[in-house]
């Protein structure tokens, strides 16, 4: 290989410069996030249809969700979004150790979210507030409360899977940041992880009022 002057190791040869590579990665990530929004969009549509058909049942069934745990998880996710943004900001300023700390905090907060979710889910499993034919609870007023819990588990479950995947990706970039793979010059994988993580937060911002705060 002939040395083409100063060719940074992270620059793939089909890009003209690091800036073009970075912008391409970002645009590719946004197209992926578009497919994620459409994926959840289908579920939001199902939610809208069933809530419009069963407004009273949705109101009675939502009372069996714990608003305090839901609010706690909202605060946890917003804070984790902040620490993620601060991790990227630290890398931009070449503060690698600080970035590692912020990424570790993000991972910890994601774990807190999943633990709270675990307690919420296990409580509902215990009471039989389950989707479809597994529904055995008898305390909800109105017809077909299993529909509410079916949509609840489908949407928060898919969101929970996204949190778990996010935790794996954050753990990987945390390790690679700690082992000095990223700096102010190159931190694109951390930035992409951040975009994904903020989208997961953004979807929760809608899930929280739609399930826990039905007025």
């Amino acid at each position: 290989m002939t040395d083409k002057g100063h060719h940074p190791p992270h620059l793939a040869h089909h890009f003209s410069d690091a800036e073009q590579q970075r912008e391409s990665a970002k645009m590719g990530m946004w197209i992926f996030l578009l497919t994620e929004i459409l994926l959840f969009g289908g579920l939001f549509c199902a939610y809208a249809v069933y809530r419009a058909w069963n407004p009273d049942m949705f109101y009675s069934a939502h009372k069996f969700l714990n608003v305090y745990l839901g609010t706690l998880n909202t605060v946890v996710l917003i804070t984790s979004s902040l620490t993620m943004a601060l991790a990227i900001r630290s890398l931009q300023g070449d503060r690698v150790k600080r970035a590692v700390l912020f990424l570790a905090m993000t991972l910890l907060l994601a774990a807190v979210f999943m633990v709270v979710k675990y307690f919420e889910y296990s409580h509902k499993f215990h009471l039989g507030q389950l989707p479809g034919k597994y529904y055995t609870f008898s305390g909800v007023e109105g017809n077909n409360p299993h529909i509410f819990f079916g949509i609840y588990f489908a949407m928060t479950g898919l969101h929970g899977i996204h949190i778990l995947i996010g935790m794996i990706v954050i753990a990987v970039v945390l390790y690679k940041t700690a082992t000095n793979n990223y700096s102010a010059e190159y931190y694109t994988p951390v930035e992409m992880t951040g975009l994904y993580w903020h989208l997961v937060d953004l979807i929760w911002i809608y899930l929280f009022p739609l399930f826990y705060l039905i007025g």
Partner: protein, 131 residues
């Protein structure tokens, strides 16, 4: 590295803290409002606040305001498509009663639909009336 072509905008730490504080305040507001009965407006207010929160996450945490406009365009396309999808579906599902005698019907004909829950014998019949 072509420093002069570097288009990334490094935002101050304070901006991120301010955005997070705004998100937490809006969370407190949306939870408080949900305990006040506004009739049909509760859902509108909740989704409105959620949209505002989503926009400040996208604009500042995700840097959409400072990025190339193509990314904002991709994000807008996603939101508009989901909006069209939901609105057109609602035109159908909310107006079926004008054509058929049922207002709600299981997708799977064999699905178990409970007319009444065991605990509540005074519940309304399957045709739900939206107030």
């Amino acid at each position: 590295m072509n420093k002069e072509r570097h288009s990334e905008h490094i935002l101050p730490y304070r901006l991120y803290l301010g955005v997070a504080a705004a998100l937490l305040v809006l969370t407190v507001i949306t939870v408080s409002v949900s305990f006040v009965n506004l009739g049909g407006w509760n859902a509108v207010v909740a989704v409105g606040i959620a949209t505002f929160k989503a926009l400040i996450v996208a604009f500042f945490f995700m840097h959409l305001l400072y990025d190339k406009k193509i990314n904002l365009f991709i994000f807008s396309v996603a939101l508009i498509m989901v909006g069209i999808f939901i609105i057109l579906t609602m035109f159908d599902t909310l107006r079926r009663a004008a054509i058929y005698d049922f207002t709600s019907k299981p997708i799977n004909e064999n699905a178990v639909i409970y007319e009444e829950t065991p605990a509540d014998s005074t519940s309304k019949p399957a045709s739900q009336n939206h107030e």
